[in-house]
Structure formats: C-alpha cells, structure tokens
C-alpha cells in the first residue's frame, strides 16, 4: 500500500441517524463547556468543509473523506488539553489541524473524530533575534513568520507546499521539505523546544523550555521527546497536539521587506541588489548531479532546487491555456536538467565572488544560465544556456521553437513592459523560491490536483536515480491517459544541510473528479513505493500510515514496531486519530485491495540504467 493505504471506515449500520445525532449533541455540549458554543460546529454542511480534501479521491474514491463528529476551536493549551481529556472520557478520537490542507487533516472514520481547528491559536510569541529562533502557536503560517523576521535580518524555512502552511505543524508533525533546504534544512530539522498535549491530555514541555523557560533547544537541558513524538516523518496528530513550538531562524542577507510590484496575477518581485536568481542549465542527469554537488560544496547557494520544465512553466503562467502554449515550445520543454539557484549576499563583492564560482562550475560542465546578471554577461550566459538546449533538441525543434518563443515574449512584454522583460523569469523563480507563494500554479492547477511519489531524503545521486525509475513508472500511467503528460518528468526537490542529502519527488498531476485518474493515482503511488524498495531509493515522502509501515518497516530496522510501541505507550485508548501514523485497527477497503492487485499483475518495466529523458 502507500499513504493512500489508510483507513476508510464507513458508518456503523447498527447506529441510527437519531442515535448519531444524539451522540453528536452530547459531545458538542461537552465541547461547548470547554470552548463556548460559539466555537463548536456540528452543522453537516459546515463539517463538510473539513471533509472535502486534497488527495481524498485516492483514498476514498471521491473528494470526500469522512465527516467528523464535530469541529472545535480551542483558544489555548488548557482548552486543547480539556478537549483531549473529554475525548478520552467519551471514547472518541481527536485530530488537530491548522490550515488542514490534505487528506491527513481529515477524519477517516465517520462521526467518531473531533477535529481541533487551531486557528484561534495564531500568535508569534517570541522572536529571539540574538539566538535566532521564534516561538509560535499552531496557526502561524510560514508566510506570516517570514515577513515578521525578515526585518530582523533573519529568515525561516518554508515548505514547498506553499507558505500558507503552519510552521508548527510542519516542524512537529510532517516532513516539510522546501526550496531553501540547502541553507535551512527541512521542517523537522528546525524544531527546538515544544509544548505538547499528549493523547491523554497531559501538558508536556520538551527541550530547554522545561528546565529554563527558554526555547532555544529541542534536546535539553531538560527532557527531550523529539525522537518520540515526531521522529523522521511526524505523527500527523496521531500522538497528541502541539500547542507551542520554537523553530530555528537563519541569517538573511536581504532587505526587511521584498518589493513586489504589478497587479494580480502578474506580480513581480524586485530582486534585491546583491541577490541573483539563476536557472542553471546543463545537459543530462549526470551533469545535473555534478552541478548540485559542486554548488553545494562551494556553499554559494541560499536556495537550490530542481524543478521540472512543466513546474517552471506552471509558475510562470497564470492559466493552463497559456501554460500549454509555453510548455509546447521545444526549447522550454527540454529544459530538463536545470537547477534553480538563488544567491544572497551582504555586499557586491560577496555576490560577485559567489557568481564567479557559479560561472566556473557551469563552465566546467558546459552549462549556461538565465539569471539577473545584468548587461552583456546576462546575454552571454543566456546564450550558453540556449546552446545547451539547442544541442538537445536539434535544429528542427530549434526552428519550431521560434514562433512560440516570440509569441511568449510578446505576451510577456505586454504583461510586464518591455523594460522588465529580462527580469521576468529570474523574478518569478525568485518569488517562488524565496516566498513559496505561488506554488499552487506549478502542480495543482494543471489537472486540478496532484499526488507525489518517491522523494526520500537520500544522497543527491540516489535522488536522481529515484527520479529516473519513478519516471518509468509514471510513463505507464501517462500512456493510459490518466496522468498529465509532463514528459514523465515532474521531479521536484531540493538539497538539505549543505547538500549532504537531497530529495526528488515525482509529481503526478490529474483531474480529481476523473474516477479513472483517481484509481490510477492510487496505483501509481503504490507502484512507486514498490519500486522504491526494489531499486533502493529510500523511504518515499508519502510512506506514512499503517499500510506503509507494514510495507517498509521490515526494510528499515522494523521502525513500525517501534512506532506501534510508542503509540501504545502514550495513547493506550487510541484517542489520537493515528490514521496517517499508527492505526491498530487498519483494514484496507475493497478499492485499495483491487488497486494493489492491479499493480502487482501489471508492473511497469524498469531499466535502472535508462538513458536520459
């Protein structure tokens, strides 16, 4: 199975509607005593706004997960703990969410789960600029924290899903990779001290805050529970509720406020004076691997990521028709082996030094770049990039690229003005990279949604290996017409902690209302998970939940047995909804079983030594 192998329980047929309503009213009354009636919702249509979820179709076959029993909005930690204790008393489950983006934010069993919408807990409690950390409540978004810390000369990690994500939820409960990983790691690596309401309602302070009242460390002085409550991938609220968390901040060699001009949807950031945004183009997977390693070793990139041409085209365009036009230009379509690199610097000298190092690396690799270098240098490196691409596509496609390229240039000149045309691509890549503010364009918009696969935190070489084999699985589904044909390559990922490790996810875009596509994407994710094991590409990004634990545990030090013990120890009554963590009562639905059988009987042929795309 896969992440999509989670519970999809149906309503108990022995419970009548009247009994269910009575039960709901009882629980709502209890919740109201804690938070006040105003902050409790039980209306079916209102509850359904927590039920429709991104990726639900791959689990349930529809866009709907299961309707919760109620939604409550606590104001503080004490109210959270009181609700958790109430759930223990009542024999029901709870799940905490912030924005609640994704199927893992929903119930998987009808009328048994109380959702805690933590929107009212939205304060940035502290920005300790000297010690470079911030303390936040659950509903503080990465975007909000970023704009508040930039004036301090600091920045915060933002996950690639988009800057509207909760800083706390990403750090405590999920993975949280992003474009900035080379300098800021991923969410889990930035977690310091934490306030945690356990599944039985006890309030625990983990890390330095317990001993000193200060939040600077996740591991003491004082008790550390990080390895227990989050580990590698987080527990998706399956081990309680986190109500405060400190996260690391990082030096920001840039202005306190990013200047953004223009109007919707054509906002354009002015790239700060000493910053450079570059799309660095080389020819082939091996060269891209080398480029990543060398740039990481040179310590010149603040942001570095690999974006497939379809993803870049999506970010650059505001609608699918325009996207199709741009993506159809062979010159752009073949920008396969490229890294988006953002250099930040305190001074012109520092910027020039870093840019010179980047040029030297690209020269060695025969590459080029589209970057805001200014003047003849910008043109020279642009032409080098064009030469790389022209070699790939050949003279015929090069000529065929001209009308489309001209059309796009004319359109973009109208959008931004002729004078800013050369800034356009670097500026958009800069905005996407630094703010993570327009990522929905890149993947969700194409078919309506997307699923991800592969994407383990491994060496950069191994990540590329995963992208190669993942693309071969994806091709099978593209050929069936159930996944958007992005050339079988929509591998997105980044580098972490100086490039000591990296990840590449293989994204699959599709129409969530298309039942065939929904079924197929379940199978795609399952098949890529099998491939991850067979081709040693590591634990996939979506390898959470009970089915995955059973699948991957035996290959990874039996981590699933440890998770089971942790869950049983801290949550003896299974009160925290562990659908995406540990689910003692997991049963795959018929659709999942059928999908798994389809995959095992019709596997995509994989050539581990396949040539470049």
């Amino acid at each position: 199975m896969s992440i999509v192998g989670v519970n999809d329980k149906q309503a108990d047929p022995n419970v009548t509607d009247a009994e269910r309503d009575e039960r709901r009213a009882e629980v709502a009354a209890g919740l109201s005593r804690v938070v006040g009636a105003r902050w409790v919702a039980t209306d079916p249509a209102v509850l359904d706004t927590y039920t429709w979820q991104y990726t639900a179709e791959a689990i349930t076959g529809s866009n709907w997960m299961q309707r919760p029993l109620a939604v409550a909005m606590p104001a503080d930690t004490d109210e959270v703990a009181a609700i958790v204790r109430l759930c223990n008393t009542e024999g029901i489950q709870f799940k905490a969410i912030s924005t609640g983006f994704g199927a893992w934010g929903a119930a998987t069993e009808p009328d048994r789960v109380v959702l805690l919408d933590l929107r009212r807990m939205n304060r940035i409690l502290e920005v300790d600029a000297k010690n470079m950390y911030a303390v936040v409540e659950p509903y503080v978004t990465a975007n909000q924290l970023q704009v508040e810390v930039l004036p301090h000369g600091l920045n915060t990690h933002v996950a690639g899903c988009g800057a509207q994500h909760s800083v706390l939820a990403s750090a405590t409960s999920v993975m949280g990779q992003g474009w900035d990983g080379v300098s800021m790691g991923f969410s889990g690596r930035n977690l310091l001290a934490v306030e945690w309401v356990t599944p039985e309602g006890e309030i625990v302070r983990s890390g330095s805050v317990d001993a000193s009242g200060e939040w600077f460390s996740g591991d003491g002085p004082g008790p550390s529970m990080r390895g227990i409550f989050r580990g590698y991938a987080g527990a998706f609220s399956g081990l309680g509720v986190f109500t405060k968390a400190a996260v690391k901040l990082y030096p920001w060699a840039g202005p306190g406020h990013l200047e953004v001009t223009g109007s919707n949807p054509d906002y354009m950031a002015t790239i700060p004076e000493h910053h450079v945004a570059a799309v660095c183009v080389v020819d082939g997977w091996d060269q891209m691997a080398e480029l990543g390693y060398r740039v990481a070793d040179a310590e010149i990139a603040t942001f570095m990521s690999r974006n497939a041409p379809s993803l870049m085209s999506g970010v650059l365009t505001a609608d699918n028709n325009t996207f199709a036009d741009l993506y159809g230009v062979p010159l752009f379509h073949e920008m396969l082996y490229a890294l988006v690199i953002v250099i930040t610097a305190e001074s012109a000298e520092e910027r020039d030094l870093k840019v010179d190092m980047l040029k030297a690396i690209l020269s060695d690799l025969g590459g080029g770049m589209l970057a805001n270098l200014g003047g003849p240098e910008e043109v020279r490196w642009l032409m080098r990039a064009v030469r790389v691409l022209a070699r790939r596509i050949g003279p015929g496609d090069l000529i065929r690229s001209v009308p489309g390229a001209v059309r796009m240039l004319v359109r973009d000149a109208r959008r931004f003005g002729l004078g800013r045309l050369s800034e356009y691509l670097p500026s958009f890549m800069y905005m996407a990279t630094v703010t993570s503010g327009l990522n929905i364009r890149g993947v969700f918009r194409f078919g309506g949604t997307f699923w991800t696969a592969m994407g383990s935190l491994v060496s950069w070489d191994n990540a590329i290996h995963g992208a190669k084999v993942g693309a071969q699985v994806k091709r099978k589904y593209i050929d069936k017409g159930v996944i958007f044909d992005d050339g079988a390559d929509n591998a997105w990922g980044g580098f972490y902690e100086g490039g000591t490790y990296a990840h590449l996810e293989e994204l699959a875009c599709y129409d969530p209302t298309d039942k065939d596509a929904a079924d197929a994407v379940f199978e795609y994710v399952f098949e890529t998970n099998l491939v991850s094991i067979e081709h040693h590409t590591g634990l996939p990004i979506n390898a959470v939940g009970p089915a995955n634990s059973a699948l991957f545990g035996p290959h990874c030090s039996s981590y699933d047995t440890w998770q089971d013990r942790i869950k049983a120890s801290f949550d003896p009554h299974n009160t925290a909804d562990g659908s995406f963590y540990v689910e003692p009562d997991f049963t795959p639905n018929e659709r999942m079983v059928a999908g798994a059988e389809n995959v095992t009987s019709d596997r995509a042929p994989i050539d581990p030594n396949a040539p470049d795309l």
Binding site: V46, V147, E148, R445, G481, T513, A517
Partner: protein, 437 residues
C-alpha cells in the same frame, strides 16, 4: 432545484460545479496573494473567517458547502444559512485564489445564496429588507427621494443627457446628505450637467442580488436598464459604488445598458485632468485611501464565456476558447488616487492592503443589516490598519464604507468621503470632515 433563470445569464451551482471541484482546500483564499503580504497583522483578506473562524467562513469553505449541497450531502439548515450569508461578498478570496488558480469563488458564493434563498426563503432581516424594497422602493424603513432632493438644491430632476444615479444608500441617509450635496456640486463645477430621476429612480437590484433573490434582481435590473435605455441619456453616472459593481458586473447578465456608464470618481478625475475642475485650496492632511471592494475588484466588467473544458496531454484542463478571468486588478483604483494626489497639501498614504488586496470595511453583501458583529469587526480591523500608517484621515467613496468605517474609530482615524475632501479643496470648505485644516 437549481437557480438558473433561463431569461438571464446567471450561473447556477450546477453550471459552476466544474470550477468548484478544483478547490484543493489550500486556504490561500484566506490571505492576500502571499507575495503581497507585508506583516502578520495584515495577512488576512477575509473579514468573515477573521470573525467566525471556521473554514466554512472562508471563500474556499463556501465553495465546499456549495459542493456539499449540490451533491445532496447536506441540507441548508439555519447554521448553514448563517455561514453562507456571514460574508460581505467582498471578493478578496476570489482575487487570492486567482493568483494561483481560476475558481470563480464569488460567483459560486452568489449561486449558493440563490440556492439558499430558493430553498429556505429569506431570513427575518432579509424579509424586512425585501418588504422595504417593495413598499418604499429602497431597502430602508423610511425616507423618500423627495426628502433627499430637498437637500441638494439646484439639481435638475428628470431626463437629461447625463443621468446621475444616486442610489439608495446616499439618498436615504440624512447623515450622508452633505456628501451627496458636495458630489453634485463638484459635478456641476466640473461643467457636467447632470440630472437625477427623483422619485422615478429605479432600484438597481444590488441588495436583491446580494441576498440571492435573483428573480427580483432580474426584474429590478431589467426595469432599470429599460428605463435608462429609453431615457435618451447619453451617459449614466453612478454615485453608489455598490450599485456601480452591480451595473458593471451583473447587469450584463440581464440586458445591455445602452448609454455608457461611469462612476463619479472617474468623471471627476477626467475633469481635473482636463482642467475643468480646479482643486485650488490646500487640504493639509495625511490621508489613507480605502479601496471599496465594489469600486475596485468587484467592479470588473462581466465577461461572458461560452466554451468547453477540454483535456489535452492526458489530464491537462484547458478552455476552448480560452476563458476570460477577472482577477481583481482592472477595478477603479487610479482615479481616486489621482484625485487625492491633485489636492494641494494632501499627503496620500497607501494602506498595506490596497487595490485588489484591499480589506473589506464589512458593510457589503447584506452584512451590515443582518450581521452587525461582522460589520463592526471588519471596520475595526480596517481602522486599526489605518492607524498603523500614521494617517490622519481615512478617505473612501462607497456610502457603505463611509458609514461603516465612520461608525468605529478605534485608532483615532476619522473617515471622510472623497467628495468632502475635494469640496474642501475646491471651495476652501472644511466643515464636512474633521481633520482637514
């Protein structure tokens, strides 16, 4: 039952389903486009969710309620109805969604209101508004157009080449008479010979539309358009921004208005730029401009689209022909700014949330009448924002904004109508707002 009226081009929920189903519940509708956010304090674009909290009170949440109702998963209960109507229809969510996607959130919310209205009828408050419309020709308990006209002496009543639609919010509110008088005087000073329709002025249909009473809206709009088309007027000038948004974005669904229509600030802006109106006297004040939703993002002209959604390259959804999308940026933003910049001594300040990212004052969508707590909370939020800028005056033009923002002064920033500020500059007249000097 779907609320699609064959005689008009309103889209029912079923028509909009293909767009609603694109919602991935990402919550971006709760914030301005993220690249435009400047601080946590100004990081929301939705007064409704700021006040009520639940996801159902966001643009995306209402899209999902629409899907729930559409798919028969839920009935429209009293709680559902509150969640539907506890929204100013300001369109902020629509702008944010369309930075990254193309879901017509406002259209879906209006279709959901129509569904709710047809299924459950009006609430008590809504019933009173509709009864007033029937009885008085405007949504208020009392007031006549004759009373209003008595307060704006010299204005010509009856047909003429340029018809000024006063609307109801200005005309029926005695507190707004000075502003209305100034507006008419400014038009006269600019050499624009306007006439008003007096007791014959038709209801534009704004509130009926907001309440989801589409049949009534169609009747009102159709009658108003017919009257204006038959009047011989060569231009229609609109005083009330809410009505302006209705005329631009929704009347075309009913019938075509013959004479061109403009908002008063556009007319005055043209006059100042052409030298026909002189802003001679200094008004020394630091003024922040509040973009009314109805003058800005909601006033983009209606764009019909008759096409189909096709899949290419397997699962890529494209429109054939391409579907025009209003993203909020073509509203009326520059004319009022140019006017204020032309006032000697006036320092114009931009609020952090401006133009298509403006934060609603809280008055629209029938909220001021039915959910005063939401109207007050939104106005306080906007006032606080103005207070952070160092502004001494918050200037706007929509009567709802003027009324609602002026009703709370948490940050010590009084509210003024742009017409009062301009009048101060033209006639050195400072009695109509407090901070001019």
């Amino acid at each position: 039952m779907d609320t699609t009226h064959p005689s008009s081009r309103h889209q029912g929920l079923e028509d909009l389903r293909y767009l609603a189903a694109k919602c991935v519940r990402c919550s971006l509708c709760k914030f301005p486009p993220l690249v435009k956010v400047e601080s946590q304090a100004t990081s929301s674009i939705c007064p409704s969710i700021d006040t009520y909290g639940f996801h159902s009170h966001s643009g995306g949440g209402r899209v999902l309620m629409a899907l729930s109702v559409l798919e028969g998963r839920s009935e429209i209960t009293e709680a559902t109805r509150d969640a539907i109507y506890q929204c100013t229809l300001c369109g902020g969510c629509d702008v944010s969604c369309k930075y990254v996607s193309d879901i017509e959130i406002t259209e879906i919310m209006m279709a959901l209101r129509a569904r709710s209205f047809d299924a459950t009828g009006p609430t008590d408050v809504q019933r009173r508004i509709l009864d007033n419309l029937d009885r008085n020709g405007h949504p208020y308990e009392s007031g006549t157009r004759e009373d209003c006209l008595a307060d704006i002496p010299g204005v010509r009543v009856g047909p003429g080449p340029t018809i000024l639609l006063l609307g109801s919010a200005y005309a029926m509110s005695p507190e707004r008479r000075t502003t209305l008088r100034n507006m008419v005087r400014l038009l006269g000073a600019a050499g624009i010979d306007v006439s008003v329709l007096g007791a014959d002025e038709p209801d534009v249909g704004t509130l009926a539309l907001a309440l989801g009473d589409l049949k009534r809206f169609d009747r009102s709009a159709s009658a108003a358009i017919g009257m204006l088309n038959d009047s011989g007027a060569t231009e229609v000038v609109c005083a009330d921004s809410e009505d302006w948004a209705t005329i631009r974005a929704h009347w075309p669904k009913v019938a075509e208005l013959g004479p061109p229509a403009r908002h008063v600030v556009e007319v005055l802006d043209d006059a100042v730029r052409a030298g026909r109106l002189t802003l001679a006297h200094p008004v020394r004040v630091r003024a922040a401009w509040h973009d009314p939703c109805s003058l800005g993002r909601r006033s983009e002209p209606y764009q019909a689209w008759d096409g189909e959604v096709r899949k290419i390259q397997g699962q890529l959804l494209v429109y054939d022909p391409p579907r025009p999308v209003n993203r909020g940026s073509s509203g009326c933003y520059d004319p009022p700014r140019r006017l204020l910049r032309a006032v000697p001594g006036l320092e114009l300040i931009e609020l952090p949330r401006n133009r298509e990212c403006s934060y609603c004052c809280g008055a629209g969508g029938g909220v001021a009448e039915a959910y005063p707590e939401l109207a007050t909370a939104a106005a306080m939020e906007r006032q606080r924002e103005a207070g952070t800028t160092g502004a001494e005056l918050l200037v706007t033009t929509c009567p709802g904004c003027e009324q609602n923002l002026g009703g709370v002064e948490v940050a010590g920033v009084p509210t003024a109508s742009i017409y009062d500020v301009l009048a101060a500059s033209v006639w050195n007249q400072h009695d109509s707002f407090t901070n001019g000097s």
